[in-house]
Symmetry: C2
Subunit: 225 residues, 2 copies
C-alpha cells in the first residue's frame, strides 16, 4: 500500500492477509493470549511464516490495532461536517467506545503498547488529529470548555473504555453512563473550577515513548535481553 513497500509475491501477500484475519478472529474470540501456533494453524501457514511477516507477536497485534485506529479516523472525518459540533464530538467518542466493546482485547493492547510501536504512534497521531478538529469545533460552538485538549479527551475516553467496558456485559448502560460523566467533565460551564497543569500534547506522548522503552509488554515475551 504505502509507496515505500516492495511488491510481495502473490502467495506471500495472501499469507499476510490470512494471518491478519486469523489473528483478528482468534483475538476477539478468546483474547490476546491465544498462542501463535494456533494463529498460524488457522491461517494455514507455518509458525515461521508468521514471524517472517510480523517480527513479533506484539507487532501482529499492533498491525490490527493500527487498522482499527485508521477506521476510527475515517469515521471521525465524516463527522467534521455534522451540523451540531458538540454532538459530533460525542458521537465520535461513543463510536470508539462502542467498537471497543466488540473486541475488548484489542483496545486493551493499546493501553500498554500504546507507544511502543512506531506505526501505532503514527496512527495515534491521526486519531489525535481528527479528535482535535472535532474538539475545536465543539469548543467554538460553546459546547465544551476551553481549557482542555485532545489528549485530555483521549485519556478520559481510554479510562471509560478500559474501566467501564469490563462491566458492559453485565449492564450495557455502564458505558453510556460513563460517557455522560465524561460529558459532564468537559462541558462548558462558567462555574467550573480551572484545571491544574496544562493540556498534554502529542509531543508529550512521544517523550513517554522514549522514556519508557522497557515498559511492561502486552504479552510476556521470552527474550528480555
Amino acid at each position: 500500500m504505502t509507496p515505500g513497500e516492495r511488491a510481495l509475491r502473490a502467495d506471500a501477500e495472501r499469507n499476510h492477509q490470512r494471518l491478519l484475519d486469523a489473528a483478528e478472529a482468534l483475538f476477539s474470540e478468546r483474547g490476546l493470549d491465544v498462542g501463535v501456533a494456533e494463529i498460524a494453524e488457522r491461517a494455514g501457514v507455518g509458525r515461521g511464516t508468521l514471524f517472517r511477516n510480523f517480527p513479533s507477536k506484539e507487532d501482529l497485534i499492533a498491525a490490527i490495532v493500527v487498522e482499527r485506529m485508521g477506521e476510527a479516523v475515517e469515521r471521525g472525518r465524516t463527522l467534521l461536517d455534522a451540523s451540531d459540533p458538540g454532538e459530533a464530538l460525542f458521537d465520535f467518542l461513543a463510536q470508539i467506545a462502542g467498537r471497543q466493546q466488540l473486541d475488548r482485547a484489542l483496545f486493551d493492547a493499546v493501553a500498554d503498547t500504546w507507544l511502543a510501536n512506531d506505526e501505532i504512534r503514527a496512527a495515534d497521531a491521526g486519531v489525535v488529529g481528527v479528535l482535535g478538529k472535532l474538539l475545536a469545533r465543539a469548543q467554538e460552538a460553546g459546547a465544551v470548555r476551553q481549557d482542555i485538549g485532545a489528549m485530555d479527551v483521549l485519556m478520559l475516553l481510554k479510562g471509560v473504555c478500559e474501566t467501564a467496558s469490563a462491566f458492559a456485559h453485565i449492564d450495557p448502560q455502564v458505558v453510556p453512563r460513563h460517557l455522560d460523566l465524561l460529558r459532564a467533565a468537559v462541558r462548558a460551564d462558567p462555574a467550573a473550577q480551572p484545571l491544574r497543569g496544562r493540556a498534554p500534547t502529542l509531543e508529550d506522548v512521544e517523550r513517554v515513548a522514549v522514556k519508557q522503552p522497557n515498559a511492561a509488554p502486552v504479552v510476556s515475551s521470552a527474550s528480555t535481553a
Copy 2:
C-alpha cells in the same frame, strides 16, 4: 492473623514475610514480569517454597495488592471525621492516585485481576465501603451530585490512575489535572444532564467475576486448561 489460620512454624512465617518483601521490592523496581526464580532468590528461599506459600504468582501479586487496599481503607476511615466532607472525598481519591504513581505495576494488576481472587474481592468491598461513606457525606454536604454511586467514582478513579499515570513521569501535573476533571464530572450542578443507566453496585462486580472466569490473566500462565 485471621482466626481461621493455623499457626506456622517460625521459619515458615519468616519465609512468608521475606517473600512478600522481596516481591514488593522487585515488582516496584522492575514491574510485574520479574521471574519467580529471582524473587525466591532475593528472599533467600527455594522456588518450591514460594509456591508453597502462594499457589501461583498471581496469588503473590494479589497478596500485595490486598495489603495496599487495606492501607487505603485505613486512610479513608481517618478522613471520615474531616470537617469538609467534599474535600475529604477528594483527598481520599488523590491519596490513592498518589500511591498508584509510586508502584504503578501493582495497581495495573488490579485492572485485570480485579475480581479473579477472593481476597481481592473482599478487600475491594472494604474500599467501596469507606468510599461509599465518604461519598454519602459529600453528597449530603451538597458537594457531589446525587445520581452517582461509589462504584461510579471508583471506576472514574481507576481511569485516572491507569491512563494519566502513564504520563506522570513526564508531567507530574497530569494526575492532579485529571483529578480536577473527575471533580468536574461528579460535582453537584443543577444544570447537569441526568446520567443514563443506574449506579453500578458491588453485586454487579461479583457478577462480572462469575461471568468472566477465564479473563486475560495478569501474567500469561502456562496451564490454561
